[in-house]
């Protein structure tokens, strides 16, 4: 039996038994995002000769967060709702060499995690944030999210959502992240390219991936993936096409000081026996 090429990065079995399948609902975009992320990680490991032990996956709570739990053949942390970036900051202070991938969702980042999100970007800490935006609280039963469009019916907006949605990419860019991109689960190659770039980027890389939640939108995964393609327009062609479509692509790619890099200068002013390079 030939296995899926990325299964070698997952723990199908553990010493105490079966760990798979993933807990995701059939056709959920989050599983695809894990697939794409592992392709990007594999590319960075092989091309940049970075050992598997340097990678660290951190997730909060929600559907996106279940991508870590007990599946990954890497160091991983399935932690507190919204606090991934505070935890990531801690790990980076302990070991600035970590290649950290944060799996988070639109609620985990844009709602409860909002404060930590903007501060991580402001500090430009060296982390790759993979934000799976399905526009709803999936795990808890289809409640409204900060990215739910105005007018949408959800289990907590039965009469239509009256609140404007966040543009998470603009938020990240304004707060100071050095690399910001948005794709959808229907753009596998672009997602892999951006995550690879993010991993190689010094500083905060925020990659938002519009994703389908078939259960709470009462639609099929296939139909939703097609919609994700049709309702988005790549930034380079923005001028020709009209309004109404969501912009995708890489929005900013700056070279800015990374937090640990700057802090290392503070340390270097003192001579440490072992600190002297």
């Amino acid at each position: 039996m030939k296995k899926h090429p990325m299964l070698k990065y997952l723990k199908e079995e553990g010493p105490l038994g079966q760990r798979m399948p993933l807990i995701m609902c059939p056709g959920c975009g989050a599983g695809q995002v894990l697939n794409y992320t592992l392709h990007a990680v594999e590319r960075v490991m092989n091309e940049d000769k970075i050992g598997k032990e340097n990678f660290l996956f951190i997730s909060g709570v929600g559907c996106s967060a279940r991508l870590t739990s007990h599946y990954l053949n890497f160091d991983s942390a399935w932690t507190i709702h919204g606090r991934t970036l505070a935890i990531a900051t801690g790990s980076l202070l302990a070991n600035p060499a970590f290649k950290i991938i944060v799996f988070t969702g639109d609620g985990d980042t844009g709602s409860i995690g909002g404060n930590h999100f903007i501060h991580a970007c402001r500090r430009n800490i060296d982390v790759t944030i993979v934000c799976i935006n399905n526009g709803v609280y999936g795990m808890t039963g289809g409640q409204v999210a900060p990215t739910t469009p105005v007018g949408a019916i959800t289990t907590t907006t039965p009469y239509g959502n009256i609140e404007e949605a966040f543009d998470l990419c603009k938020l990240a860019e304004t707060a100071g992240a050095s690399f910001v991109a948005r794709w959808t689960t229907a753009h596998p190659h672009q997602v892999i390219k951006s995550i690879t770039k993010g991993l190689r980027k010094k500083g905060t890389a925020f990659i938002e991936i519009l994703s389908q939640c078939p259960v709470h939108s009462k639609s099929s995964p296939v139909a939703m993936l097609r919609e994700l393609k049709e309702n988005t327009i790549q930034i380079s062609k923005k001028k020709e096409s009209g309004e109404g479509k969501t912009l995708i692509g890489e929005f900013c790619d700056l070279d800015k000081p990374e937090w640990n890099e700057s802090y290392q200068k503070l340390i270097d002013q003192f001579d440490h026996e072992e600190g002297k390079s």
Binding site: I80, S111, I112, M139, T140, G141, T156
Partner: protein, 399 residues
Amino acid sequence: MSKEMKAHNTNKRLHNVHLLKAGEYYLQGSQACIEGAIMAGCRVYGGYPITPASEIMEYASRRLPQVGGRFIQMEDEIASASLLIGASWGGAKALTATSSPGFSLMQEAISIAIMSETPMVIIDVQRPGPGQGYITASQEDVMQARWGHHGEGSIIALAPSSVQEMFDMTIEAFNLSEQWRTPVLVMAEEPVAHMRERLLIPPWNEIEIIERKKPQDLGIMPEDYLPWGHDIVAPMANWGEGYSVNFVGLVHLEDGNITKYSPQMHYDCIERLLRKIEGNVNEIARIETEFLEGCKNLVICYGCVARTALEAVIEARQEGGLDVGYVRLTTLWPFPHEKLRDIVGNVNTIFVPEMNLGMMKHPITEALRDRSEKIVSIPSLGVLHSPEYILSKIYEEIR
């Protein structure tokens, strides 16, 4: 008060046309809780999704606009609890529901609500912990309910065990919060929030609803008003009523002045908060009992575990021929030490079945240590005890 302000005061039951008509319903505990809140006059709900309490919020989002109330999903639980403080002083009865991880996040807001004597109600549909724990039944927050907030002061916590009590106790919680100017916690569990059962709703005008004591009603003018004075439970002027109330979280004099600090003033300020609740435990706390006459053994329980415990006690008496009594703590906090001592004689064994590893067992032991040779925990984590399990423990000890 300006006309708009009066219309805006959502505390009055303006739209009672949408209140549930008196009669028999078959509702989920989560729904009964919101219907109770609405009957009590609650017109502001702020919450955040968390399993297993999301159903309460979802039902609130549907029902509150129908009765002229306002619902909002906040960015997290800290925001939700903070919202209750603003809403309460803004003149509304305000509610949120969460589960254990969210309940931890709310503790700071609860603490300042205790200090500022802010009426508000929080439903905690408990789930196992620590950390994310699991999403099923639990009673592991009962100590956090009393001791989770930083600092001194006490709190009122009720423990429902049926859909009817999710309705009745939410009303009772609002009444207690208004009467004693304090946050009140309804310590529910997943089974009672999700089960469906018969619910009897009385005519809305026959339900006793308590509103906060107002300085206006006592003829106290704004210039003489002491937001934290006049009586052990101070009258409460809402913002927007022209009383220029300075809400403070610091140790304060009865008029809110925080500059005249002295250890004595500090003691008086805080000791009153504690005495207000603990000193009135006999009026606040309620206990239910069955088969206590001359029983040699006793089961003390609370919440939905009480349903299993009563079934086990009845079976132990009928089939096992054992004389086992039954006590249910309807109110967890303030803990009714005296009431317990009044009704419990000398017994051999007290069983305390809890969906934790032994928490209410501590105040129970403190109250009844000299009345029983043994006090035995019957722990269960993440699942409601089955009658067989409780019976096996009883037989193990008594046979």
